[in-house]
Symmetry: C2
Subunit: 150 residues, 2 copies
C-alpha cells in the first residue's frame, strides 16, 4: 500500500488519457457544430452508406427513439437527409449531405494530424513500446467490457 504499484501508475495514466482525449474530441467536434453521439452516427453512415434508422440503432447500440432524435438534430443542422426507402415504405434511408462528407474528410485529416502531434518522432522504441503495451491491455480489457454488454 505504501509502494505505489506500477500497475496503478499505468492505470492512472490511462485514465488521465481517457479524460483528456475525450475533452479534446468534444471541443473539436463542438467547433464543427457536432456532438460525439451525432458524430458517431455520421461515422456509421460514412462507413456503411445510407442506412435505415433501425440499422443505425443497432450499429450504435441505442434505442430507435434515440436515433429519431439524433437524426432530427443532424437533419436540422444540415448533415443528413431522410430519403424514402425504395422497397419498404415504412423505412427511411438516412444519407450524408455533401457538407457532411466534407466534414468527415476533415475529421479524418484531423485524426492524422493529432496522431503525429501525439506520437510523431517519439524516440527509438518508445512508440513500439506504447503500442505493445496498449495491445496487451486491450486484449484483457475487451472481454471485460464485452461481457457487460450482453
Amino acid at each position: 500500500m505504501e509502494t505505489p504499484a506500477p500497475e496503478i501508475a499505468a492505470l492512472d495514466r490511462l485514465m488521465e488519457l481517457t479524460v483528456l482525449l475525450g475533452e479534446d474530441m468534444t471541443t473539436s467536434l463542438a467547433a464543427l457544430g457536432l456532438t460525439t453521439s451525432r458524430t458517431h452516427l455520421l461515422w456509421v453512415l460514412h462507413h456503411g452508406g445510407p442506412s435505415t434508422q433501425r440499422a443505425l440503432a443497432d450499429a450504435l447500440s441505442v434505442s430507435a427513439r434515440n436515433v429519431t432524435g439524433l437524426v432530427d438534430g443532424l437533419e436540422a443542422t444540415g448533415f443528413v437527409t431522410r430519403e424514402p426507402h425504395p422497397g419498404d415504405r415504412r423505412a427511411t434511408l438516412v444519407t450524408l449531405t455533401p457538407r457532411a462528407v466534407e466534414v468527415v474528410a476533415q475529421m479524418v485529416q484531423g485524426q492524422q494530424e493529432l496522431a503525429s502531434q501525439l506520437c510523431g518522432g517519439l524516440g527509438p522504441g518508445v512508440l513500439e513500446g506504447l503500442v505493445a503495451g496498449l495491445d496487451a491491455v486491450l486484449e484483457r480489457l475487451r472481454p471485460l467490457v464485452a461481457g457487460a454488454g450482453s
Copy 2:
C-alpha cells in the same frame, strides 16, 4: 498514405481504450446507482472534505446550477447531505454520508483490482514500455487540451 503510419495505429488503440474504459466505468458505477458526473463530485468531497457548492462548481468546472442538480440527485439517493455552513448562512456544506464513504472505499479497491487485471504480470519490459509511451503522449496532449479550457 498507403502504409498505415504507426502513429495512426497508436492513436487508434488509444481511442479504443478510451471508449472501453469509459464503458467499463459507466457500467460499474451504474451498478452502484451512480453516474460519472455524480461520482466525480463524490470524489472531490472524498479528497477535499465537506465543501460548499460554489467550491464544487469550481472544482468540477461546471455551473452552479449544475451542482444544485448533482447534489439534489446525490442527496435523494443517500450519498450526501446538505449541512448549514457555520459562519456563512448563504452557503451549504455538502458532506459524504457514511454509506458514500464506504462506496468510495469500494471504488478505490475496484480500481486496484482493475489495475492488476489489466496490467498485472505483463512480461518483462511491457509495462515499463507502456508507461513510458503514455507519459510521452500525455506530455504532448496536456497542453493541447489546457489551451482550449481558458
